[in-house]
């Protein structure tokens, strides 16, 4: 990239660029905030609920009871001591806590995925809306230029109220109007002074002198 082509000023259209920067930043902040909040509160909310004193007491009772069920159904000769039973209860409780935490994480992730999917959908819709504000005018400029290429200078670029490039569109239309009027006048002069070549030349030169060209 040559030094000439290198851009020195990135904020060439401050209001437009700042508006877009704020919009995109806001979206990212919302996504990040919702993700973090869901994760934090979902995770901690569930963990705190799962690990209340009451819940722990219930789990302890259930672990004991299930161990007793197992010992009743599958008596283990030589393994009837309390230490063995206690160890098994602790093991059950540990497994239970692991399963509870895994369940909480799975649930939180599922909730997060659902929320993020919804947010991404909203962002996708928002992106289409935002990009349409730029893509719409570009499309219309292109159509007008196509018409101009075919020699039609009567067309104008009509932008919507909230489309970006309103100012460019106005300038574009003014330029079009200028060319339309100039070419119109040339055509009129040609018709009026068809039988007076000197006057025709003089008026055409006057008209064309308004244009600055490369050749």
């Amino acid at each position: 990239m040559s030094a000439k082509e290198r851009r020195r000023h990135f904020l060439v259209n401050k209001p437009l660029q700042i508006r877009y920067m704020l919009t995109i930043s806001l979206l990212l902040i919302i996504v990040t905030f919702i993700s973090l909040a869901s994760f934090y509160f979902g995770l901690w909310g569930d963990i705190l609920r799962a690990l209340t004193n009451e819940q722990l007491r219930n789990d302890l009772l259930t672990a004991t009871r299930l161990q007793q069920y197992e010992e009743s159904r599958y008596p283990q000769p030589g393994r009837t001591d309390e230490a063995y039973s206690f160890n098994r209860q602790v093991e059950r409780l540990r497994e239970r806590q692991q399963d509870v935490l895994k369940g909480v994480l799975d649930q939180t992730n599922q909730n997060l995925i659902a929320k993020l999917a919804f947010l991404f959908f909203l962002i996708a819709m928002g992106t289409i809306f935002l990009s349409h504000k730029i893509a719409g005018p570009l499309y219309r400029f292109q159509k007008v230029l196509d018409e101009m290429e075919r020699g039609n200078l009567t067309v104008r670029c009509h932008l919507r109220k909230f489309d970006e490039a309103m100012a460019v569109g106005d300038s574009f239309n003014r330029v079009l109007q200028f060319f339309d009027s100039a070419i119109g006048r040339v055509k009129k002069i040609t018709q009026e002074d068809e039988k007076n070549p000197d006057r025709l030349r003089s008026r055409l030169n006057e008209e064309l002198s308004k244009f600055k060209t490369s050749t």
Binding site: R57, N58, D59, R73, Y74
Partner: protein, 426 residues
């Protein structure tokens, strides 16, 4: 062969000569007061399944203790009890139908299972496996027995279709793990448990449903593969369970009418009657040491106790006991020992009502030595009480419905259990 034929012939002669079972005559003789008491116990016990079943999933908690997971077997008893409750007019048809349907839909579409076998304990809110429990063969069988029974009460609804799909999805043969016996269960972490249903206990309902399965049955040979260990107590010959717990002689009998079934000379109804009598006599032999035991206070079966849940029982068998009596055990034997059971129920209610009876019927157990009274109820213990009382009060109502099931008839036929078919030609 002669060894098999002889007891069968003796049994047949005994049945032909003996008067009809006194069961229904006893029911007819019931005083109005007794009938009201039994109905109250039954109605209150059913309330356990209304209150302790999750409103969203219908899954029933194992016990009334806070934090209890849902139990698949308790859920089976719940389905059966709700059906009974609406038939008696204690629950509206609509409410019972909705709860049964909700439960079956949870089981069909949400509850965690392996090859049709449900995990022993489930999270009552989600139906997910709880406490790393095993996919359990016996608990699934009790669930299905309850579901099949409920389907009989809601024939003109979509419930039979749901139950059929649950039953048909069970791969019973897989649970044999290549052996001749059915395994107790399977865990994702360690595979099949190292325990098999290899001797007499509550296994008969499991085998009946496994052999009678319309889709993935186990071979009928499996019926002969388990041990019928016999021993004697006070002159009563009993095919006994290892623990000697009374519930092992009751669960299969809540659904299956064994009175006319002959298994190579063994009549399991008579066997349970003898086991119930032995259970009572065994506790009576310790009545001087344990004041909980008396002529009208008996019932040694797996229950809560002062030192936690224990497989209490009598001889023959392990015979573990410490003075703890479980009222559900004597209620559950009411088909076998109507007079003794009725006396016990009267006694428990009149003598211990304040400490032992609550909004959901009798609490689980008590022990006078330790001055200990259970505050809790166990779903399966309330369930067996409901079903046995229904059989007793309404002329074997559960049996009539359950014995008509195609699966049960198939099991009877394949295992040659029908008394008439096994009669010896003269």
């Amino acid at each position: 062969m002669i060894n098999l034929i002889r007891p069968s012939a003796i049994l047949l002669v005994f049945f032909l000569l003996s008067p009809p079972f006194s069961l229904f005559a006893d029911t007819a003789k019931l005083s109005e007061e007794d009938r009201r008491l039994l109905e109250k116990v039954q109605r209150d016990s059913i309330q356990y399944f209304v209150v302790y079943s999750d409103r969203e999933t219908g899954l029933t908690k194992d016990s009334s203790q806070p934090g209890s997971p849902a139990s698949v077997a308790a859920t089976g008893f719940s389905l059966a009890s709700l059906a009974v409750g609406q038939a008696r007019g204690w629950i509206s048809y609509e409410d019972a139908y909705r709860q049964v349907r909700r439960t079956l839909q949870t089981l069909r579409y949400r509850a965690q299972q392996e090859k049709g076998f449900f995990y022993h304990f489930l999270d009552p809110k989600t139906g997910r496996r709880a406490w790393r429990s095993e996919a359990s063969s016996i608990d699934t069988a009790l669930l299905l027995a309850g579901a099949l029974l409920a389907a009989e009460y809601f024939k003109d609804t979509d419930i039979p279709r749901l139950v059929k799909s649950l039953y048909e999805q069970v791969d019973w043969r897989w649970m044999m793990n290549g052996s001749g016996l059915v395994c107790h269960g399977w865990k994702p972490e360690s595979g099949f448990l190292p325990y098999y249903w290899d001797s007499y206990n509550e296994l008969m309902i499991l085998l009946a449903l496994a052999i009678g399965s319309p889709t993935r049955p186990i071979p009928a040979d499996a019926w002969q593969a388990w041990d019928r260990l016999e021993d004697e107590y006070n002159g009563k010959r009993i095919v006994y369970s290892h623990s000697g717990s009374l519930f092992t002689y009751q669960y299969s009998h809540a659904f299956i009418d064994f009175r006319d079934l002959n298994d190579r000379g063994i009549n399991y109804f008579e066997n349970s009657r003898n086991a119930s009598l032995a259970n009572r006599e065994y506790s009576l032999s310790f009545k001087d040491k344990y004041p909980s035991y008396s002529e009208n206070s008996w019932g040694l079966s797996a229950s809560y106790g002062p030192a936690g849940y224990k497989a209490y029982g009598a001889k023959p068998g392990q015979g573990l006991h410490d003075g703890t009596v479980a009222p559900y055990a004597s209620i559950g034997s009411i088909m076998f020992t109507p007079d003794f059971s009725l006396q016990a129920i009267r006694f428990f209610y009149k003598s211990y009502r304040d400490s032992l009876y609550g909004p959901f019927g009798f609490r689980d157990a008590f022990n006078l030595n330790k001055k200990w009274w259970s505050r809790d109820y166990l779903g399966i213990d309330q369930g067996i009480s409901v079903l046995m009382l229904e059989n007793f009060l309404f002329n074997g109502e559960i049996w009539k419905r359950f014995m008509g099931l195609e699966a049960i008839q198939k099991w009877v036929r394949l295992c040659k259990l029908d008394l008439k078919e096994t009669a010896i030609p003269s």
